[in-house]
Symmetry: D2
Subunit: 283 residues, 4 copies
């Protein structure tokens, strides 16, 4: 058992001192904090435990539920940061991939966002005349999870990629955080793709430019904290001897810390992700 | 506007007389009627308007809701008939494809059944020791619909097929019937695959052995009747002049006849389909 | 079997000529038509088949789905007309009652709207300082249906009314229309309360000022057309001999005509109802 | 912050020694442990922190998900223990009350169970001839929560009780446990009714024989552990100084520990509760 987090910002926070090959820059505005963590060298990557790349974290001051009018500003922030991250990419054909299990609410952000994204790949040239924005070929799939499909997610995505031939992939996933204050209040963007072990305890093979042949942007939302991670934090330790197992019982592997209104939060935050993508691609 | 039905049995019923190249045989048992319609020649196929092949229709006497204990018997009947239909096929690796839109209840049978099927393709040899049946490699996907993915369903399925390399495909879909008594009470199995125009008014490119390279078994459940079809039947006609359009208004294209408890029926009948598949493949 | 409709406007449309004691006035604006039908005498009520009172029908030109930006205007129209209808009432304490079965999508408008209404009855005087509108005591219940509770809806409402002691009740229900063009595009307001036989085929005892002791405003949304009503309309008859039964089979009682995207429509239209109420009561 | 639990068995477990006025007896059978905690004196009640009465806890060895065939045995155990608990009561008319918020999955056990219970109060004497069991007048309501209704749950229940005049009430609620191993694996029955503070952090006024005038049986299922409770347990303390607040942040009030598949567990366990009630009342 060890501290677990899918957020680069939290990996960075574990170090008080400067790390060679890792830059970090934050700015606040109107209740929203945007932090850029850049991992520029393999040495920095090894220290932090995340691949070389850009990680952008967008955090809200307050829970969505308590402050409805923050939603529009977060949508804009997500759209703006995503736009910057993909500005150098070929956007002719973008495939959105919604990872995770739609039947497990904290893991359902990806499939929910997919159902809310504006897809355009199937719209004929004639029909596109009716739109007031440049229509890019956007498509979207929610491949499901290994336990329901019996197929590695990466295999399904590869098969679709070979037919759709996108120039860019945006993969959406639910993440695990270390700090409960980030649950349902944070969006992480990165240009590194998705690596195994993300999400609610499901190992998946990686979805990266290396494996798929096109750049992969990852959009993640921390929805859970591991029970073991919380316990280690409470104890002030980074790793733990066997005695924690006795307290937590072996069932803690199946338990998560999550917001009590996770149903409503997953609806709202998947809308934010989808709107951010729509803004970045269609305007 | 014309009579629409996806059921071979209803196409056959439109003819009072014998049709060359079409055989039909029914037997009743305990509230369940099983009818085999065999189309053996291209001439018969042309007459009936369905491809050459075997069509098996399993009908319940009563609505599921009124008679809970019929469910087990229907599961068995579906499992038995499916087993016969696939007995000559290579069952080493079976891919279940759940067609339709999960967000439109009468069209959601396919995705719902996929989530209830027992998948085994990802289970290691060691883990399989724990099972008391011969474990075949069963996998399952719900590819979504064009309006949500922007990708033709057939493209997604092809991509997955190329990676999974199944020896048989079973495709599940919601169908349109002509007769309202068949809604939610009927299952059609066939060895012809899925051809365009099935389901709730969505054109999809075909999923057949010709296009996918492996045999495709279709399992369909009629969940809707077209409003125009009902109107024509009430009028006692097979086709119709413009005046029906005036009565129905052009919004009738978006309207369907469906059971008022379609939410509950789609849950139950997708369970029947999944259990039928589990029985046929895993015992 | 006879033509069935819960809409006063459709009852009025059945007569080409003027009816004594019934006034009707319509005005269009920007894709929305508002029609007032006033039944002023018992003679008029008898002719029309609806109680004496004011009936306001708000109709959209197009399906919600095809024209998203009409939603705001419909919300405003519903709020404005509701405000006029309740302008002479005591609004100190308003109880919203969401009728219908939440597990049957076309009947779920009432319970869905209740979950979206802003309730304030439980907010303390201190907390109310934070609101920028005059806070009325608004409460809301979804009493369920007889088949699930075993209790007449009117009994549950009476019990709650005796404790909450509202000065006005607003009851929301799904309705049956005659014309399919009105499904999911129409809202009916009236000051007559709810009388038995409304909704998706469920008889309920009436909810009126006579039975509850306080004025009852009804808000209804037609979500279904009876299969028999559609058949009679197609045949151009108002009532029907036994032969229609043979065509429709006795299962037609359990069948409805409804929009194929009823899941999405019921979400959107219940939001419109709730926003209309929020506007009328809290601004 | 202090250890929180709604389970009498966990209150009892906090004491190593015997407590005067508190008896405890457990027996195991086939993967199910049934423990009776009897609080017989006010002194015992004060020590334990629960009212005088009988508390029966039914615990499964394994998670439901891992062991499907345990479900039937748990249903029977719940039915048997409930039958014993109500054996001395007047069962002519039983009102089931499903507490909690149906829109928050871990709090939705009550409303979900209500929708699955067999109600009979509305069935006429003639119709009852068709049943093969003695038909008692069973009714059921899900009153909603204060935040959605604006009305105290106890007020709604009182109003309904005055009209339905039941001879017994069975109230179902989601509970908080101390030990994560009990989440989704445990049912607590008691003859004490429901007291404030149960469920997912919502204060409700009590539902007891004292307030409602008829005996109230409580059926509860622990679905969450407080984050603070978990933290205190990890630290090996019963209460805590301010420093824990710093680690947990004030957002921990909105966070819960819950099974990651809480969606599926809440479906299954609400079925177990409903089947247990059906068995106890209708056979």
């Amino acid at each position: 058992m060890a501290i677990r987090t899918d957020l680069a910002i939290e990996c960075r926070e574990m170090f008080a001192e400067e790390i060679s090959g890792v830059e970090s820059l934050a700015h606040d505005s109107d209740g929203i904090t945007v932090t850029h963590v850049k991992i520029t060298t393999e040495e920095g990557a090894k220290q932090i435990g995340k691949p070389v790349g850009d990680y952008v974290t967008i955090e809200m001051d307050s829970m969505l539920i308590e402050n409805e009018d923050i939603i529009d500003r977060v949508c804009n922030a997500v759209g703006d940061e995503l736009k910057k991250l993909i500005s150098s990419k070929n956007l002719n054909s973008v495939l959105i991939v919604g990872l995770g299990n739609r039947y497990i609410t904290p893991d359902s952000i990806g499939p929910k966002a997919v159902s809310k994204v504006t897809v355009t790949r199937h719209i004929t040239k004639e029909a596109q005349m009716g739109f007031d924005f440049a229509v890019r070929a956007v498509s979207a799939i929610a491949p499901g999870v290994l336990g329901i499909t019996g197929i590695e997610t990466s295999e399904i995505v590869k098969g679709v990629v070979e037919h759709v031939k996108p120039s860019l992939i945006i993969a959406i996933d639910a993440l695990a955080a270390r700090n409960i204050k980030r649950l349902g209040t944070t969006v992480q963007l990165s240009d590194t793709g998705i690596c195994p072990g993300s999400g609610v305890g499901n190992n998946r093979k990686e979805l990266t430019e290396k494996t798929l042949g096109v750049p992969v942007i990852a959009m993640g939302v921390p929805m859970v904290v591991d029970v073991a991670t919380l316990a280690l934090d409470v104890l002030g330790k980074k790793e733990c001897r066997a005695d924690l197992n006795t307290i937590l019982s072996d069932r803690s592997k199946n338990m998560i810390v999550t917001p009590n209104d996770v149903d409503e939060i997953s609806e709202k935050i998947s809308t934010i992700i989808a709107e951010g993508i729509n803004t970045a691609l269609h305007s």
